[in-house]
Symmetry: C2
Subunit: 218 residues, 2 copies
Amino acid sequence: MKVPKSVASLIEAFESLPGIGPKTAARLTYYLLHAPDTLAQQLADSARDLKAKTKICHICQNITETDPCEICDDPQRDRSIICIVEDPLDVWAIEKSGSFGGLYHVLHGVIAPLDNIGPEELRINELLPRLKGPTLAKSDSSNAKSGVEKGRTLEVKELILATNPSMEGEATAMYIQRLTKPLGIKTTRIARGIPIGAELEYADEVTLRRAIEGRKDY
Amino acid sequence: MKVPKSVASLIEAFESLPGIGPKTAARLTYYLLHAPDTLAQQLADSARDLKAKTKICHICQNITETDPCEICDDPQRDRSIICIVEDPLDVWAIEKSGSFGGLYHVLHGVIAPLDNIGPEELRINELLPRLKGPTLAKSDSSNAKSGVEKGRTLEVKELILATNPSMEGEATAMYIQRLTKPLGIKTTRIARGIPIGAELEYADEVTLRRAIEGRKDY
């Protein structure tokens, strides 16, 4: 099949992305040929910058261009609550919903024994220092109490376990809950139930059971 | 919403592509962050090269890196038959099927009066010289006859009208058929009927009518 090299190369690149088959890849490529030059240029520039300019925030482990990231560095955010998510994409989704004003911690995966991914492969080790804090480590309880007011890392009062409601996500949430229990920090799990706009009759049994178990006063 | 600039820019670029919404754009971008560096690099390089390295073949008007393009320049291709298509993407689709060994002519659109696109906006003017050829232009019939044997452009014996079976595609096919009729070249239209794998009961009425009208001896 005779296709110009640069066209074939872009089709191949698109095809390597998840959910994009050969036909969609070709359609996108030929669309770019007709589209204004600026679009192909923006795609090229931002794909090049994506890896070069981003790094991992040393506090929350999210993708960022500055370290600490804009969220960790924002004095407006509520430092007393940390939302634990699987992936940077989950931070994007929650930020987009505008429903959370606290900090995040990105695990970069879930515990998945079948894929040989244990807790040590995740960014769980980076979570604990954020909860314990430097003064608590001294195990001096009077100092620790004042530290709660002063030190950033000591302010945490709630952990939201926002891993996906999958087998692996539930297992990971449970693991972190057990690990952090001795610290005496309140731990919550995101609500699982019927999504807004869905219909009860199409919901699966486990979701329905969770929705009834998790019912609230009305 | 706080997302690193390079991430936001790539999400925006993906979102500008047809059929990609904000969620898919974010998913693709965050996938690239986890994928090997080479993939983002290939995407960046090929998107940059796409416009810089490609041009239009002066013969068939297809997208190419060399002029004339690889297909027009290939001595193995049957020069007696030209397949007329709307877009470069159609050439890609037909080449992929491996069902055609002749040459192409890309119109870069269809006649669409509602969108103010007339025949002069298409590459129809570039088609006629390929059919008439240089010796025929002399209007010397004895020379022209020998020219049929020698000149490349005089070899054309069949035109396949392969515009889409849409209103505009049919109108464009009809226009070209009328325009080329005086040249006495055989003109055919791609078969329209039930696609392979589809079921009769789901086919629309026009397709069914075409399928019955176009029935063949069995």
